[in-house]
């Protein structure tokens, strides 16, 4: 297939138009190029071109110590970077055999579920935006801001968080974190309810989304879809349940599934997942209160960077600091695959270690990359305006697509 298809039929009655949708189009929310063959408003065929923001993370990762790879994972799915960060930390912990305390697991669950909510807020409000409803976007988007304030309080950063360390967190949640979390848990549910009341039974919204871009479950499996997109087709695959990590088995929550796999179902699955995330966060806060206070990392001095004041005053801490930074700690020579449920689906880390300070090979299984390849085939015969909301509902994040 040629990269830029050129139509050569000269008959004016059947001639199609080549339309470059992207790479930077205001309607695509990211760097996506699709070269579409249009017959009037309908798409005859399309070719996706990706790689515009490819940054060679897998190559860079082969030259960095484990703890310096965390900021690279930030920039994969930057709408829910804490999930990437912690997925990476858990991969390394699995490799090194580190067992984290329960309290750390619950802290992670709180942060990960908050980022899942912020990820779904973006996706669902953007679907509304693209169908012409700007109000819900403005209403709900400020709650993403509140989530970012919590992140800021925990780690000092908002978007590219670099949150946590291998073995736990760099510091404990302080009182302001809990205060902000409480405020969020009280104010967000009514706002989400209002958001739902603006869209879920909205005639215009249903007309635009229901029955559009339906995907059958077998097709979704064939294309290795995962996450809310796969669940919208009716398959209840969720990594949090299938292979619980970070003590997800301690929580009670439901996995929402759809029936038609259309845009409306994806929207509703994401909405319901936000409610379930709230449930999980409430349980996690409760469980955390029962654990021993002040535990925020595993007791692994060979891998967890000691606090700076100890490095200057304590010999062991200085030695460990030096060993960690210079990469003198031995790691097992083996390979590990660990996956977490990211905002878009199964986010996997395939890590091969040769015993050195950096991975021998690190491969990211990026859900956006794998989900997006169906976009061009499924756009055939679709109206252009439907294809636009279809792209928003896939929630493809350019950073994760191109790595």
């Amino acid at each position: 297939m040629e990269n830029h298809p050129v139509y050569i039929d000269t008959d004016p009655q059947v001639q199609t138009t080549t339309l470059n949708l992207g790479p930077t189009h205001p309607a695509t929310h990211g760097v996506f190029q699709n070269v579409l063959e249009m017959d009037g408003e309908r798409i005859v065929s399309g070719v996706s071109t990706i790689g515009y923001i490819h940054r060679a993370f897998e190559k860079i990762a082969e030259h960095r110590p484990f703890y310096q790879i965390t900021p690279l994972t930030d920039r994969l799915n930057y709408c829910s970077s804490p999930i990437n960060n912690m997925g990476w930390h858990m991969t390394v912990e699995k490799l090194l055999g580190i067992k984290t305390p329960k309290r750390v697991d619950y802290m992670r669950v709180i942060i990960m579920e908050l980022s899942r909510i912020s990820d779904h807020i973006i996706c669902n409000t953007i679907i509304g935006q693209d169908t012409g409803a700007t109000t819900p976007f403005l209403y709900l988007f400020q709650y993403r801001e509140h989530i970012y304030e919590i992140f800021e309080e925990v780690c000092g950063a908002r978007l590219t968080t670099n949150i946590g360390r291998i073995g736990g967190f760099e510091r404990d949640f302080n009182d302001r974190v809990f205060a902000k979390l409480d405020k969020f848990l009280q104010t967000f549910p009514p706002a989400l309810k209002e958001f739902e009341s603006l869209l879920t039974r909205n005639r215009i919204f249903i007309d635009r989304t229901a029955g559009v871009a339906c995907v059958k479950p077998e097709v979704a499996l064939d294309y290795s879809w995962s996450g809310p997109l796969l669940r919208a087709t009716g398959i209840d695959y969720d990594v949090r349940v299938n292979e619980p990590y970070s003590s997800y088995e301690d929580f009670e929550f439901d996995i929402p599934v759809g029936t038609n796999g259309d845009i409306y179902d994806r929207f509703n699955v994401r909405n319901e997942e936000m409610w379930q995330s709230l449930r999980i966060i409430e349980q996690a806060v409760e469980k955390m209160a029962k654990e021993e206070k002040g535990v925020f990392h595993a007791d692994v001095p060979e891998f967890y960077l000691p606090p700076k004041e100890e490095v200057y005053n304590n010999m062991e801490a200085l030695i460990y600091h030096f060993k960690i930074v210079m990469g003198e700690v031995d790691t097992p020579k083996t390979e590990v695959y660990h996956c977490v449920e990211g905002g878009n689906g199964e986010l996997g880390f395939y890590l091969i270690s040769d015993g050195g300070r950096s991975p021998y090979r690190l491969h990211f299984r990026r859900p956006s990359f794998i989900n997006y390849q169906m976009y061009a085939p499924m756009s055939r015969g679709m109206l252009l305006s439907d294809a636009i909301i279809n792209m928003s509902s896939l929630n493809v994040i350019a950073g994760e697509l191109d790595a």
């Binding site: 990269n3 790689g51 395939y350 191109d402």
Partner: protein, 167 residues
């Protein structure tokens, strides 16, 4: 964790393929074995279509470069049986000069971009792939950058040499 144990999966595979399957290892409970490129299509389709195994979900395809080995490119498949909740990892070692392997796109459409990515970075030629061209790198690139012989940075730089850091 899964309903099927690794032993049962392995039992089925060895009765079907016998010597074609290498001695398996289980790093962190994930059944890993090697096979040859002559068998990979059959192994994949057996795993996918077998009535009890049902490895119907292709999680990932990638490759690894081991320059010190004779067959230096390893193509790695991760399969997942959703109904049994068990995973396998299959490795196929290929020579580094023009590595060739049959495509998996006939079994899963999702393999399309995964194989393109593997081709793009390692130069693995997937025979029978419908549209094998570069995906993330620029089209006119001539090398396969994830191979170990390509350095990350300019090798002539001296300010990052190990001896400056006591290594």
């Amino acid at each position: 964790m899964g309903k099927l144990s690794n032993q049962e999966v392995l039992q089925k595979l060895t009765t079907r393929f016998g010597e074609q399957i290498s001695i398996p290892v289980e790093p962190f409970g994930l059944l890993t074995f090697e096979t040859g490129k002559e068998n990979i299509s059959e192994v994949l389709s057996f795993l996918k279509n077998d009535e009890t195994l049902k490895f119907n979900y292709l999680t990932d395809i990638t490759a690894v470069h081991y320059p010190e080995k004779e067959l230096s490119i390893a193509v790695v498949y991760h399969l997942h049986s959703l109904s049994n909740n068990v995973r396998v990892r299959i490795k196929v070692f290929l020579e580094s000069e023009n590595p060739q392997i049959p495509t998996a796109t006939s079994l899963w459409n999702g393999a399309n971009w995964m194989e393109r990515e593997t081709y793009d970075f390692f130069g693995v030629n997937f025979i029978g792939h419908p549209d094998l061209r570069r995906i993330l790198n620029v089209d006119d690139m001539t090398v396969f950058p994830m191979r170990k012989e390509y350095p990350l940075e300019d090798p002539n730089r001296v300010d990052k040499r190990d001896y400056f850091f006591g290594r």
